[in-house]
């Protein structure tokens, strides 16, 4: 039950009565009168349950794009004067979600709440509150109903901007067929005239003899290779890093989001190149797993898969994830591990299972670097150069810790390279194109 602003106003009207009849009894009589009115209104108030609520699901939207949710309110039985609030969790960015409406019996009205998601994932409606007012407008009955609904905010795929340039390079790779290494994974494509710069070893002497020009063989880059994207959602992915050096890490993104961005770009590129893409994400358990082969829009489906993934504060179980990779098939594949180059996490979890993976597959580790760490290690350096105040003892100790950490990372990286793993380590904003370039380089060499 709720009362309206009319009740205090009605009580204040009692001032007139009190001036006319200045006695304590007047106050109580007036209060009694108001209470009687309120009670009467309460008796006549229709139940909020007479309003029937249905929601049309708002579906998926890319993070940063607006969405809207439709709520249909229908009146059954009686005339209703309603006050409705369609509540969403704050990060769904629901605005103007309170409505006043009068409905005749049988009427229905559609309430459109505009949403502007501010976080990736499934953003849920937390309940619809209906306040039904009495005929006098003094009292309302209020109930909150659970009308489930969620808007799925997909990863923004900001690295989309890098896709056209990489696709152009892929086509170039296709047409020129400048495959420097023959053998496995390269297929004969066509013959064309020799131009300067072509590898002389690719000259087809037989064809040249039948022709007035020198003719070279061209090969198509390998197709139908497998790419497995492994997204680590364990504790290391929760770390927030700056997108680019010099930016405050508070404005940055979690490592997981940067890894998603890289995975999306690579998946889009690989599917265009004719490769089959599989995706698995997990930490202690597998959280998402999908074969994307044959899908028309691989990036879109991958976004759907990733939307609801959040970092979890547990250590990754690489045995499990490696098992999931093997589950996609025994055929040789490019396995991209999107994780952090965190020395302790790598040494404890990843190293024991790496030999299993490298025996069957080509393994690439893509790691989001933290520019803040580099900045911290170079702190003393910068400040001397800038001629500003000398560093404090705290800064120097922090720089020492950062230098130590960087050193450990370098060792880890060297060790991984010795194990035959490619390591792509870049800042959050740079990782997607760097990983795509690495993929193109591998493809050009026929190493997939």
């Amino acid at each position: 039950m709720a009362i309206s602003g009319r009740v205090p106003l009605l009580l204040l009207l009692g001032l007139v009565a009190v001036v006319l009849r200045p006695q304590a009894g007047t106050v109580w009589l007036w209060l009694l009168g108001v209470l009687l009115l309120v009670g009467l209104d309460r008796l006549l108030t229709p139940s909020p349950a007479l309003a029937v609520l249905t929601r049309r699901p708002p579906g998926s939207v890319r993070l940063g794009d607006p969405a809207s949710s439709d709520l249909v309110v229908a009146a059954t039985g009686r005339r209703l004067h309603l006050h409705v609030r369609d509540a969403w969790q704050p990060s769904a960015g629901a605005r103007d979600n309170r409505y006043r409406l009068r409905l005749a019996p049988g009427d229905q009205r559609r309430l459109t709440t505009s949403l502007l998601p501010r976080r990736r994932g499934d953003l849920r409606a937390t309940g619809v509150t209906v306040r039904s007012w009495g005929p006098l407008g003094l009292v309302a009955r209020q109930r909150t109903y659970d009308v489930p609904g969620a808007v799925r905010a997909l990863p923004p795929f900001e690295s989309r901007k890098h896709l056209p340039s990489r696709l152009a390079r892929l086509r170039e790779l296709d047409g020129r067929a400048a495959v420097r290494v023959r053998g496995q994974g390269t297929e004969f494509d066509s013959l064309r005239e020799y131009v300067r710069g072509d590898d002389v070893r690719s000259i087809d002497w037989r064809a040249s003899a039948r022709n007035t020009h020198v003719v070279v063989r061209t090969w198509q880059p390998e197709r139908d290779r497998r790419v497995v994207l492994v997204l680590d959602t364990s504790r290391t992915s929760a770390g927030r890093v700056a997108r680019a050096p010099g930016e405050d890490e508070v404005d940055g993104m979690p490592r997981l989001d940067a890894a998603m961005d890289s995975a999306l770009l690579l998946a889009a590129l690989a599917s265009r190149a004719g490769d089959r893409v599989d995706f698995v994400a997990g930490d202690r358990r597998v959280r998402a797993r999908q074969r994307l082969h044959g899908a028309r829009d691989v990036a879109m489906r991958l976004q759907e898969q990733m939307a609801d993934l959040d970092p979890v504060l547990v250590e990754a179980d690489w045995d499990l994830l490696a098992g999931a990779v093997q589950g996609f098939g025994r055929q040789r594949a490019l396995v991209v591990l999107l994780t952090a180059l965190e020395p302790s996490a790598v040494a404890d979890g990843l190293l024991p299972v790496l030999p299993v993976l490298t025996r069957h597959h080509r393994v690439v580790i893509a790691s989001v670097r933290d520019p803040e760490l580099t900045r911290m290690a170079a702190l003393a350096d910068e400040e001397v150069a800038a001629g500003s105040a000398p560093p404090t003892a705290d800064d120097v100790y922090a720089a020492a810790a950062a230098a130590h950490e960087l050193d450990r990372r370098e060792r880890t990286r060297a060790m991984l390279v010795r194990l035959g793993v490619d390591v792509v380590d870049a800042d959050a904003g740079e990782l997607p194109p760097a990983l795509a370039d690495h993929y193109l380089a591998l493809k050009a060499q026929g190493l997939l």
Partner: protein, 386 residues
């Protein structure tokens, strides 16, 4: 370890501030206590002509003298205490601070003291006179110094002979009608309706009791009987409708109107306090600054004062950097890096080795460590530039 010598500085500074604040607080408290202690005696009974007030306005002197003369002096400071005191026909009742008397307390006092030999009111004001006899009037007499007023009443007042005495006070009150110490058609001492009105109340005060015959007037008026009940009334004994209050000046609907406003206020609260549905909560994700571990590790180095470790980490980083700049093998031994750097910069090997060699002395204090870090940074910058 000398780390403890630098780290606690801010702590002691803060403690010194609190100690200063504590000292100020204690001083203020002491001053208060001393002030209260020193003014304790005079402030206890500040009323004019109070039998326990030793100040110039008090009447302790005359009360003491009466007690020494064998008069049984009882002091009542409230209506209840007065009603507990025995008052018979061998008792004199004196009422000082009569401005504190309300009509109701005056009535109570007269009822209880109806048997008394006499009741002396010290300078009753107009309101009380109206209660006693509405036809009475009074006038303030600004009696100057050295202007004694003679009694000139052979009959005395209320059975007390005052003839031949002079009274001399700074300021007195005279009442209309016949009486002793006449000034014009009024008198300073009058007997009305069984009450003695003493207009020259200052004659009893410690300051002026010794002038003229003031002492004799006081002693005769108060010391006639073996018992004296000294009643110092208290305004809080008055019942509520005695006096004019602010309530009687306001319109009579104000009270109920305030009630109405209060009720409306409560209704306003009830209106605004009801939310339209519960608060929407956000399932918050885990957000950690990735660099936080390195930062806290740095703090840990500092707390434990592990300069050796810090210096080694800085040296290794500098060696790696220099080696990369000079295009040396990553696995080059430290000595080779040092030598190459010295050759590259054209400085003695010893100077570079002091910075880059792990076996050299580590900085002894945090200050040295900062200087060391700056030196290393300078070296790296020079290698990079040249």
């Amino acid at each position: 370890m000398t780390a403890t010598s630098t780290a606690p500085t801010p702590v002691t500074a803060r403690r010194r501030v609190t100690r200063a604040q504590l000292a100020v607080a204690v001083a203020v408290l002491l001053a208060l206590v001393v002030a209260v202690w020193s003014t304790r005696g005079s402030e206890k009974y500040p009323g004019a002509a109070d039998p326990r007030n030793p100040g110039p306005d008090g009447a302790q002197a005359i009360a003491k003298v009466l007690a020494d003369q064998g008069v049984d002096v009882t002091i009542a400071r409230s209506a209840d205490a007065f009603e507990e005191a025995t008052v018979d026909d061998r008792t004199t009742v004196v009422v000082s601070s009569t401005e504190q008397l309300a009509p109701s307390t005056l009535r109570r006092m007269r009822t209880h003291a109806s048997a008394a030999a006499r009741i002396v009111l010290v300078e009753p004001d107009f309101a009380i006179l109206q209660e006693i006899d509405p036809s009475l009037g009074l006038l303030s007499v600004p009696a100057g110094k050295d202007e004694a007023i003679a009694a000139r009443c052979p009959d005395g007042v209320a059975g007390v002979g005052l003839d031949g005495l002079d009274v001399e006070v700074d300021r007195a009150t005279s009442y209309t009608g016949e009486g002793c110490f006449p000034t014009g058609d009024r008198a300073l001492v009058r007997s009305v309706d069984g009450l003695v009105l003493l207009g020259a109340g200052q004659a009893l005060t410690n300051d002026q009791v010794t002038r003229a015959d003031n002492a004799a007037v006081g002693l005769r008026l108060l010391g006639q009987d073996p018992r004296l009940v000294w009643y110092v009334p208290d305004a809080t004994d008055a019942v509520s409708d005695d006096a004019v209050t602010i309530g009687t000046l306001l319109p009579d609907w104000i009270g109920p109107a305030l009630w109405i406003v209060a009720l409306a206020g409560v209704a306003l609260l009830l209106w605004r306090v009801r939310r339209l549905g519960p608060l929407a909560t956000e399932p918050l994700p885990v957000v950690v600054c990735a660099v936080e571990t390195a930062r806290s590790r740095g703090r840990m180095y500092r707390r434990s004062g592990d300069r050796e470790h810090a210096a080694r980490a800085l040296r290794r980083a500098a060696r790696t950097d220099v080696a990369r700049r000079l295009r040396l093998d990553r696995a080059a031994p430290p000595a080779a890096v040092t030598e190459a750097a010295a050759r590259h910069l054209g400085v003695p090997v010893e100077a570079v080795a002091a910075l880059l060699d792990d076996d050299r002395t580590t900085p002894a204090t945090d200050h040295d460590l900062v200087r060391f870090a700056q030196d290393l940074a300078r070296l790296r910058r020079e290698v990079r530039r040249s």
